[in-house]
Every structure is written in structure tokens, then in C-alpha cells.
């Protein structure tokens, strides 16, 4: 057999407690045994299109060229469209609902070269109800794309500019402070900010330390490259594996300690030199590192 693609990368909010993911994979393997499925994650919080879009964007540059099947779809069964989005001159095709989920990843890899609406009458598996398009529509479409079915056979073209956009806020410097946002809290409690190293340099050249203003607290964070460089109670600003800065503690959850969640705002300020020793709430233990 001659496949156009041999890999489907699969992200959803289905969770692993039910059989949803297993059924989708069974549908794929029943239709085309030579296509492999790589699970990105299925534990996107239920209905959280924004979190799903960000996870997909973080993963995007590492995914195997092929089909990306992404389903966080609170509007399933309504008038929202299903779409297939071609990127990278046909290197990959993303399949999912047109609700903003695919937009951040598509933007990150250079934008869509072609988008079609999944409306052809033969795309859908027969089924009981209209609540499981991952199984009944998106997975069969993903397999057909792997098998080489042309995009144009799936439905009419859509202007890529008319896709639902993803909602990504940019950090902004205003009045000498950087208004940032928590994009993501990872499993370890690290708080990824929408702040890159350049943003930080714009705020304060060569600032080794910055002040972090929270709703009800002020902390000092030190710029380090590894969690293990931090002292026991010291807050760090770590360049994370996606090239963004994350508030972090060593082997403890910064999210728990700072009581911050995805979407929360954080203000970063330059730390005046004469303020370094001022009594802020960060306890800087001068003893040696634990562990």
C-alpha cells in the first residue's frame, strides 16, 4: 500500500478514563492498519479550547509530519464547522473543529496554505447520535488524508483568514513594567509566562533579578537556567524548554505556592539595585542547596 502519511498525532480532551480514545484508535486501525497514532495528550481540561490550542502549539514543531487530529469540541453537533488545514506546503494537515483550537499551532508553523470545510456527504461514519465527531467524522477524515484522498474532495474551500482565531495575549511593557500572563501550569507546577528572553531584556538589561507582583503578594525571582540552581525557597525565572520564561521553584510547585493558574496576570518589574536587600516576602536562604 502506498500511504501519503503514516502517522496521526492525536490530541483531545477525552481523558483516558472512558473508552473514547481507544474507540477512535480502533476506528483508525480498522480503516488503515499501517497508520500509527502518536498520542500528544488527552487530558486537556474538558471543553478548554484555549488550553488545547496552547498544548498543540507547544508540541507543533516536534510532531511527525502527517495528519494532526485535534478534538476539543464543546460545540459538537451544532453549526460549527469541521475543518482540515494544510500547512507547510502540504507537509502536514490538521483536522478538527473550527473553534480556535487549531489556530495557535497553525500560526506557529507559518500559517495555512489551504483550508476546507468537512462537508462531503461520505465522510461520516453512521452512528447513534451526533455527539462524538472524533469517532464519526474527524478520525475517518484523518485516515482518508493519510491514504492520499485530496483535500478538495472533503468539502468546499474556506478562506484561511475566516477561521476562528486562537486567543493569545501578548505581554506588554507599560509604564516601565511588563504585564504578563500565565499561559500554562505544567505537571510540576511551573508557570509558563507569555514572556520571552527579549521581553525581559527590554524591561531591564541584564537583570539577574526581577520583582514579581501578584494580586496579593510581591516576590523576587532570579533568572536561572536550571531548577536545581535555585535555593530552597528561592523563586526562579527559568528559560523553559519552549523558549519562554517560567516562574518555578526547585522540586516544588510554584503554582501552589503562588496560588496562580493558567490565565492569571502577573506583573514583572525591574528591581532597583538599592532594593535588592529590601524586605520582600521571598525568603532567600543562603545555606547550600538541598538534595
Amino acid at each position: 500500500m502506498d500511504l501519503r502519511f503514516d502517522t496521526i498525532s492525536f490530541l483531545s480532551d477525552y481523558g483516558l478514563a472512558d473508552e473514547f480514545v481507544g474507540v477512535v484508535k480502533s476506528v483508525i486501525r480498522s480503516m488503515e492498519p499501517d497508520v500509527a497514532v502518536v498520542d500528544i495528550t488527552h487530558d486537556i481540561p474538558a471543553h478548554d479550547v484555549r488550553a488545547g490550542g496552547l498544548a498543540l502549539a507547544r508540541a507543533a514543531q516536534y510532531l511527525v509530519p502527517g495528519v494532526v487530529l485535534a478534538v476539543v469540541d464543546p460545540g459538537v453537533g451544532t453549526a460549527r464547522k469541521g475543518i482540515a488545514v494544510e500547512v507547510g506546503d502540504g507537509q502536514s494537515i490538521l483536522v478538527g473543529p473550527d473553534n480556535g483550537l487549531l489556530a495557535p499551532a497553525v500560526g506557529l508553523v507559518g500559517g495555512a496554505s489551504r483550508v476546507v470545510s468537512l462537508e462531503a456527504p461520505d465522510l461520516r461514519l453512521p452512528s447513534g447520535g451526533a455527539t462524538f465527531d472524533g469517532r464519526d467524522l474527524f478520525a475517518p477524515v484523518a485516515v482518508q488524508l493519510c491514504a492520499g484522498r485530496p483535500l478538495g474532495e472533503l468539502g468546499p474551500d474556506i478562506d484561511p483568514a475566516l477561521l476562528q482565531p486562537g486567543l493569545m495575549s501578548l505581554a506588554e511593557i507599560d509604564d516601565g513594567v511588563l504585564n504578563a500572563q500565565v499561559l500554562w501550569v505544567d505537571r510540576f507546577g511551573n508557570l509558563q509566562l507569555n514572556v520571552g528572553p527579549d521581553d525581559l531584556e527590554s524591561l531591564a538589561a541584564d537583570a539577574e533579578r526581577v520583582r514579581v507582583r501578584l494580586d496579593d503578594d510581591t516576590r523576587v525571582a532570579r533568572r536561572v537556567d536550571a531548577f536545581g540552581e535555585l535555593r530552597r525557597t528561592e523563586l526562579g525565572l527559568v528559560l523553559d524548554s519552549y523558549g519562554l520564561l517560567a516562574l518555578a521553584l526547585d522540586q516544588r510547585s510554584a503554582a501552589e505556592e503562588l496560588r496562580l493558574a493558567a490565565g492569571d496576570g502577573v506583573i514583572l518589574e525591574p528591581l532597583d539595585d538599592d532594593n535588592v536587600g529590601a524586605p520582600v516576602s521571598t525568603q532567600v536562604t543562603l545555606g547550600e542547596r538541598h538534595a
Copy 2:
């Protein structure tokens, strides 16, 4: 190599926190690298044979023809039998304990054409204790079935009628009301009932709305096809992806709001026309849909 089957679909209550599932898959791949494993789910609640049987039945019609390995096995190590059940004129074989786990799926696909008890002396891997038959008995048997070993070599035949039955309650109309049961609460909090569209029509022809009696509350549910058709606080009766009716809210958990769990009873009643406007506890917001 010439395999009879190239796929093992695998369901268990092992969870993913321990290495149980990984070890079973390692045993399978060590014995036969060309067999693929499709995980249905491993998060069946510990020891919950009924929940495992229902999940397997929901998945059954979508599974890749081949071997189904299902292990929810509180009686491991006792006199309960291990069995292999052939269905669909040999299209698939289910392997697991004879405790009712396999029965709903077997029934759904047309019943067993042959059942054997796993008693041949060479089936079992040597091991420390007698508590992990998934690894030591069922997985090796599943691989051997993939490799084409005849069912008759695994042990003596059992009369399919003597298998442990699954426990499935049927909804019943009694005195003009439908006594139903929650079969399953899915990840999104939707409450699948043992009620099909026909049952609902028997209760009240073309009823767009029905009354839902709970232990300590009464609600009105509206029959819709998609979660997104529901207004903000409106309770829906949605035809789910398995062709059964589910109590649901839009983007919120009906299980949490109604405080219902799998196995709980629910009474559906026709809604008298002159009662539609009566003050039941459902708040019907007439504003437009959110999000």
C-alpha cells in the same frame, strides 16, 4: 510470519500509575513483535466488573477484529475460570476472567460461538505469586491466539450458556412512568441512561420534554441532538454516540449538578402540557446561549 490476528484490544482496571499495563504490553511484544496493542481504557474503577463490562460493550462494535484482552479480576487466584470466547464466527476472540466482564460485549455482537476454559498446563508464565493473571496467563494466551493456536488446545470447552452473566438492567414502563438507571457517567459528566429513543416514544409520543424524578428533586429535560442546543441552565436528554439517551448540561457536569452516579435510579415521566409552565426547579433562562 503468518499471524491469524495482528491486534490485541486491551481493557483493564490496572490504572496507568503503576507499571502493570506496561509490563503486559512488554510481555506481548516480547512474544510477538508484530502484534499491535490498542488500549481501550485502563481506568475502569478498581474491581468494578460491571463498569468494565459496560465500557467493553460500548467499544465492542468499533474494535479491530482480533483478540480482546479484558481484565477486571477481583477473584484472581481463586477458583474462577479464565476463558477465551469466540464470537462472530471466529472474527474475534475475547480473553479474560469468567466473572461477567465479557458477557455484555459478547451479547452485543451476537453471542459466543465457542468458549474454552484456560486450563492447558503450558499457558502460564512462571511468576512470583498468583495475583497478576493479566501478565502471567491472559496476555500469553492472547498472543498465542494471534499466532494461530487453536482454541481447542487451550483447555476444555464450556457451554456458553454457563458463563457468568453480565448484569444489565432494562428500563421498564410501569404505571405510565419509565423506571430507568444511570449506566455510565462519562468524563464530561453526561449521564447515560438505559433508555433508547423507542423507550421514550413508548412513554410519550413526540414528547419534546419529559419530567425527570430524582430522589430529592424534580427536573424537566428537553430532548435535543447536541449539547450546544441547550440553554445555560437547561437540562437536556441527548441521544448519545451509542444510541442511548443521556441526561446532560452544556459544558457542565450533569452528574455533579444532579448528584447522580452510575447505578442510580431515575424516573422519567410524560410532562402534561398544562404543566410545562409550572414551577419546577429547572431554571429555564430565555436569554441567548453563552459561548
Copy 3:
């Protein structure tokens, strides 16, 4: 293509809620589509090197010969070394951080025949930060080992005796009692002890029952082969699937009932014959088994 190994067995503390595991698998498949990944588990508690080492050791004898990729790595980005450890005369190679994680498994399969430090300049993927060596270093190394790259090209040899040891406590008989430790609490709440059948025989020949001293309670446990042999409230000492003894209840969590966690101490004592009927806190129900 000619691979030296076609399987990577993968264990981590990445969890499944984020895209970490999916990204690592995408990197592997992008580099070498014919290598399969078998997930051992990814739910090792965050940063818990000891728990990861024990899970890897339990799985070790069942793993497919090939590469083992193990990442529980709180010291990522610091001076701790990344290593590749050859075992079984080259039958398998373990890849991960040198922090004790690999040590229990290596010891269990007969020790290391060769260890190298991952220092060659071409091993690492370019990336944003220094916090995700699973993706940027260990996975690429694992793939290259599958492809047949010689160990000696990855970096300088290390004396296996200089590896970070794993921390495994041995049970000891002292003053006629056995001082044991809980190694692992599994998904079902069974408490695996660092006690084998021989240890128990040393304590009391043919003891069908032993006394279990906890911090604030004393129980009697009966030696059985299957959970299902236990009466409703009876505590059991079950030979588990790894050949160690586990404190267990039938279909309930011994960890919850005894309030014990991994690492906790437990004292086992012989039960004097004339004490068998004494009022200890275990309620022995003489009625028949439930379920």
C-alpha cells in the same frame, strides 16, 4: 533498514496531562519510524527518583530487549550526568540521568557491563531551554542506540562502581522481629513490603499468621495466595506478582485502612499460639466470603 534494537521502553514522571510524553514519542518517531515505544508508566510522582527506580526494577525482567528510556530528573540542567548503561552483555541499554534511577533495575538484571557519560557534542537537539533533557538528549540518544551507534561514540566511559546507587532498604530480623518497609503502594492499595517468603520463614517457620505492628495499631495478617481467600475484614499477607509479600485486603485498599504509604516502617512478629485468640484489632468475620 537495519536496526540494532526496535523497541524503546519508556518510563518517566512526566504525567499524561501535558504533552511531554507525546513530544518525546514524536521526536523518536520523527528520527526513526521503525522503532516502537512501549510505555512502562509516566505517573511516577514528580521528582520521586526512588519510586521511579522501584517501578523500573519491578518491570525490568519483563521488558523487551532493547533500549530503556527512564527520566525522573529533578537535577536536569545541573552538573548531574546523563548516562547509558549496557546490561546483559549488550542485550539492553538503559538511558537516563545518573541519580540512582537506573540503579535498582541494573542491579536486578546482573549489573552493568559498560557505562558511558552522554557528553558527545552532537547528541543534543537544539532547544529553547535546558529543562527537558528527555526530549533534547535522552530520546535522541535512545534512537541512535537503536540505530546501532556504538556506545563509545556517546562519551567517555564511567566506572560502573561510581554510579549513583539506588536506595533500597533490606528487611532485618532483630530481637526476634522483622523490621520491614513499605516499598510500594499499588493502584489497589496493596502494600508491597521488602520481605520475601524466606524472610518470613526465618521469622517463624510455617507461620500461617503474623502480628503486624504499626505506629498506632497492631493487626494480625494471614498468609494467603489470593486476595479472594481473605474474609471480609481480614488482613492478608499475599505473595505478590513480583515474589514479595504484600499487606492486602480483599477488594479494598490496605493502604487506606492502615494509613500506610511508601517508605513507612512495619514490624512483623511471630504470633504466639496462645495469642491467636487474643483481642487484637483485626475483626475476623467467620461468615462466608462476600462477592
